[in-house]
Subunit: 443 residues, 2 copies
C-alpha cells in the first residue's frame, strides 16, 4: 500500500504547524514541505528584536529543518520555490532558488501556506533597503547596521510592522523618520489609541510624517513629497499582500479580500487543496464576513486545522474564525484590540456607541499606572462589537473582550463578569468593566 | 414630602458602594451609614502591605468619612455599632462604641453590609494577638512591630489571608511560622497549586506546619499540638464567618452557607432590607447553588446592586452571581482560580477530567518564564468547569476562563479563542489554550 503524500508549500508558521499536526494525525503519511528561503519555523513577530540588535537570527528559529526531518519525519526542502500547481497530474513544479534547477513534487493533498509579501512601492530597490517581514531580510538589515555604522534610517509605512521596526532602530541609537502615506497610522486602531502612540513615539524622538510617501531613494536619502530625509538605511513596510501567485496557477478561488477563499476546514475551492496563514482569508466572528488579517497566531491555528484535515480523508478540525485580536508594543506603549474598531463598525453601517475611559492597572496605593480602554457596542442590542486598550497589560486584558465577543455578550453581561482582583494585579473594577458600565448608560 | 430614608449598616466595601450608588440613583434620598469602627471605605485586600510596613494605614483609605459627607451627602456615622433591627417600627438600635450611648435610626430601606469576622479559635486573646482582616487590627499589628521589635511571629491559619500576612511579615525581616489545622493550605486551590505555594514559601524561609493547631498562647510562645513556637507576635487568620448577628435580630433568612440569603437583586427575605458583601451569599454561576465567597470585588459589585435597588422603589439592577474568581500572591507566586476546583467539582458529583500544563508566559527567546495552568471540564459535555493558574500574569490570564465559564463554553470553544499574541506579552498558544487542547483529548 502506497503512503499518501501530503505536500506543504511554505515552512514558516502556518506551513510547519500544518505539517506537524498532520504528522501527529497520521504517523504513516509522507509529508514534504517546500520553503523558498533557507529558514523554517521562525517567529516573524520577533523580528523587531533582531532589528534592534538584541537577538541573533538563530534565536528566532523555533525548530530548524533538521529537527523536523529527524524528530517528525517531515521532508523539509529549503531553498525550493513552488511555481506552479498542475492540478490534473497532482504535481507542483518548483525551482531550486540557488541553481534554478526545476523539480516536481507529487501530492495527494496539498496545503498552501505561501504567506504574504510586501507591497513594494514603485521606487527602485537598492541594497540598503530592507523589508521587515522575513528573517533573511531583517538579518541582512542587522548586518548592514553592524557593518556600515548607519546613523539615520527612514521607515516607509506606519502600520504596526513599520512602527515596531522604527522603535527597534531607535533603541539601537539610530535617528529614525517614519513616512506614512495615509493621514493615520496603525489603521486597526481608532484615534484615541493612535494619538497616544504618536505622542509616545515623538516623545522618544522618532520623527513621524503623515500624508507623506517616498518618491525616490538614493544611497544617502529618501525623497518624499514632504522633502528630503537623510538615510543610510531604509525599511520598507508599506503594507502586505497575500501571496496568491501559486494558488492562481491552479485557478483556486480568491475571496473578496484578495486572499485565498477557504471554508472553516481550511479547504480551498479544490477539495484536496487547503490553505492556511497569511495567504488565506478568515471569517470575522463579529461580521460573519471574510477578512484578511495576517497574524502569527492565526497562521498557527489555521495551519493546525489545515494539517489535521489534510492528513485525514475526512478531518473534522474547524477554524471558527477570528475576533480580530491583535497587540503591538511601540516605544513601551502596549496597544491591543479585538472585534471591530469604531471606524470599522461604522464602515459596516452598524449603529454604534463608543466610550473611552482610563482606569488604574491595579491598586493606586501601590503606585499603579493607568490603562486606557475603549469599547464599541451596537446601539439598541447593546452587543459588544469591539474593544481597544493602550497601556500596561493591555495585551492580556483585551483577551476578556475577545472571549466576550466570541460568546456574543452584551456590554451589560461584560459589566457583570467576575474578573480577578488583587491589589498587586488588578483594580476592584477592571478597566473593561468600568468602560462597560459607562457605555451601558448610552446604548 | 418627606425624603425617603436609606440606612446602610457597615461602611467598608459593600456598604460604601451601596450608599454611593444609591446617591447617584436618587439625589434626594436621605442616606445614613453606620460603621462600628473609625474607618470607612478602605481596601481590606491591601492590608498585607500595611502588615509589611510598606504603607501607612491612611494609604489604604479610598475616601474618608468627610469625603462622603461633603461630596456625596452621605451621613456617615463612624464608631456606631448597630445592634438590633426593630422591623415593625423600622428602626435600627445602635450604640456608640466609645461611650456606650444608645442611638436609634429610622429607615425606609435598609442595606446590611456587616461583613465577616474572624472565627477566633478557643484560646485566650492577648494584646500581641491580631486578626488580619481590619484596618484597626493590622494597624495595631504594625505599631506592635515598630514598638516592640518583635522578631518571631506565628500565623494561625493557612488560608490566603494567613499566607499573605505571613509573607508580609517575612519581607519585614520577621521569622514566621504558619500553623494550619487542616492537612492542606489554600483550600480553594487543588494540590498542583498548593504544592507550588508550599515550595515557594519554604524556599523563602517561612516555616509551615500543617495538621497543627494552637492550643495555647502566652507572651512569648504559641503552643500547638506539634510543639512550642516562640512568638512575640501572633496573627489570627483562622477563617472567617459571615457576620449575621444583626440580620438575625430581624429573623432574616440565612442560606445554606450560613450567610444572609439574598435574591439576584440583593433583597433579603424582608423586601425592604437588602444585604451585600461578606455577610451575604452569592449564586455560583457553575453550580447554580448558593455559595459564600467573601471577596472585595464581589462586595463592591453586590453593594452597587443593593444600593441601586434600595434607592428606587423598584430597582432593576441584578447581580447574576460569581464565577469563583480569586487571586492571591504569596512570596511572589501569583495564583489565580475561577469556576470549580477539581475537588469542588467532585464534591458536586460531577464527572470530571482535569489536565495541568506549563507554558511560557511569552516568547521564550525573550527570556520568558513559565506559568502553570490546570483546567477541569465535565466529561461527555466538555463544559469548562474551572481553571487554576500559578505564575507570572496568572491573575489577568484567569479572566479568560472566568469569561468562558460565564458564557458556558466548552473546552473546545475555549481552545479556539482568538487571544492576543505578541512576543513580549504572550506566547502564540496561551497557556489556557494549550491546556484546552490537552483536555480535549480526554473529555
Amino acid at each position: 500500500m502506497n503512503r499518501s503524500e501530503l505536500l506543504v508549500i511554505g515552512g514558516v508558521a502556518a506551513g510547519m504547524s500544518a505539517a506537524s499536526r498532520a504528522r501527529r494525525a497520521d504517523p504513516r503519511l509522507s509529508i514534504t514541505v517546500l520553503e523558498k528561503s533557507r529558514d523554517v519555523s521562525y517567529s516573524a513577530c520577533g523580528l523587531p528584536w533582531l532589528a534592534a540588535g538584541k537577538l541573533a537570527a538563530r534565536d528566532l528559529v523555533v525548530h530548524d529543518a533538521d529537527f523536523f526531518r529527524q524528530k517528525r519525519e517531515i521532508d523539509v526542502r529549503t531553498g525550493v520555490e513552488a511555481r506552479e500547481i498542475e492540478l490534473g497530474r497532482r504535481l507542483v513544479r518548483g525551482v531550486e532558488t540557488e541553481t534554478g534547477r526545476e523539480q516536481t513534487f507529487h501530492f495527494d493533498r496539498l496545503v498552501i501556506a505561501t504567506g504574504a509579501r510586501v507591497a513594494w512601492p514603485t521606487i527602485e530597490r537598492l541594497p540598503h533597503m530592507f523589508s521587515a517581514n522575513t528573517l533573511a531580510s531583517v538579518g541582512a538589515l542587522d548586518v548592514c547596521i553592524r557593518q556600515t555604522n548607519a546613523r539615520q534610517a527612514v521607515v516607509l509605512g506606519g502600520g504596526y510592522i513599520g512602527l515596531e521596526t522604527a522603535d527597534a532602530l531607535r533603541t539601537r541609537g539610530l535617528s529614525v523618520t517614519v513616512l506614512q502615506r495615509a493621514e493615520r497610522i496603525l489603521r486597526p486602531f481608532d484615534d484615541e489609541i493612535t494619538s497616544r502612540v504618536e505622542h509616545t513615539m515623538t516623545a522618544r524622538g522618532i520623527s513621524l510624517r503623515k500624508g507623506s510617501a517616498a518618491v525616490a531613494v538614493n544611497d544617502s536619502e529618501v525623497v518624499s513629497d514632504a522633502g528630503r530625509h537623510p538615510a543610510q538605511l531604509v525599511v520598507v513596510a508599506t503594507g502586505m499582500r497575500p501571496d496568491t501567485d501559486l494558488a492562481e496557477t491552479a485557478s483556486l478561488t480568491l475571496g473578496p479580500t484578495g486572499a485565498i477563499a477557504v471554508d472553516d476546514r481550511m479547504r480551498t475551492s479544490e477539495p484536496s487543496i487547503f490553505a492556511a496563514g497569511d495567504c488565506a482569508e478568515s471569517r470575522h466572528l463579529v461580521t460573519g464576513r471574510a477578512v484578511w488579517l495576517p497574524l502569527g497566531t492565526t497562521a498557527n491555528k489555521q495551519g493546525r486545522v489545515a494539517g489535521e484535515n489534510a492528513a485525514g480523508l475526512s478531518g473534522h478540525a474547524r477554524f471558527p474564525g477570528v475576533a480580530g485580536t491583535m497587540v503591538t508594543e511601540i516605544c513601551g506603549l502596549e496597544c491591543a484590540r479585538t472585534g471591530l474598531s469604531e471606524r470599522e463598525a461604522e464602515a459596516f453601517s452598524l449603529r454604534t456607541r463608543s466610550v473611552g475611559i482610563e482606569q488604574y492597572t491595579h491598586a493606586s496605593y501601590l503606585g499603579a499606572g493607568k490603562v486606557f480602554a475603549k469599547l464599541t457596542a451596537e446601539r439598541g442590542s447593546g452587543r459588544l462589537l469591539g474593544a481597544q486598550m493602550a497601556g500596561p497589560g493591555a495585551g492580556k486584558r483585551i483577551d476578556v473582550a475577545a472571549t466576550a465577543i466570541t460568546a456574543r455578550m452584551t456590554v451589560e453581561e461584560l459589566s457583570q463578569l467576575d474578573l480577578s482582583y488583587h491589589p498587586a494585579v488588578a483594580p476592584v473594577w477592571e478597566a473593561l468593566l468600568v468602560a462597560a458600565h459607562e457605555i451601558m448608560k448610552q446604548v
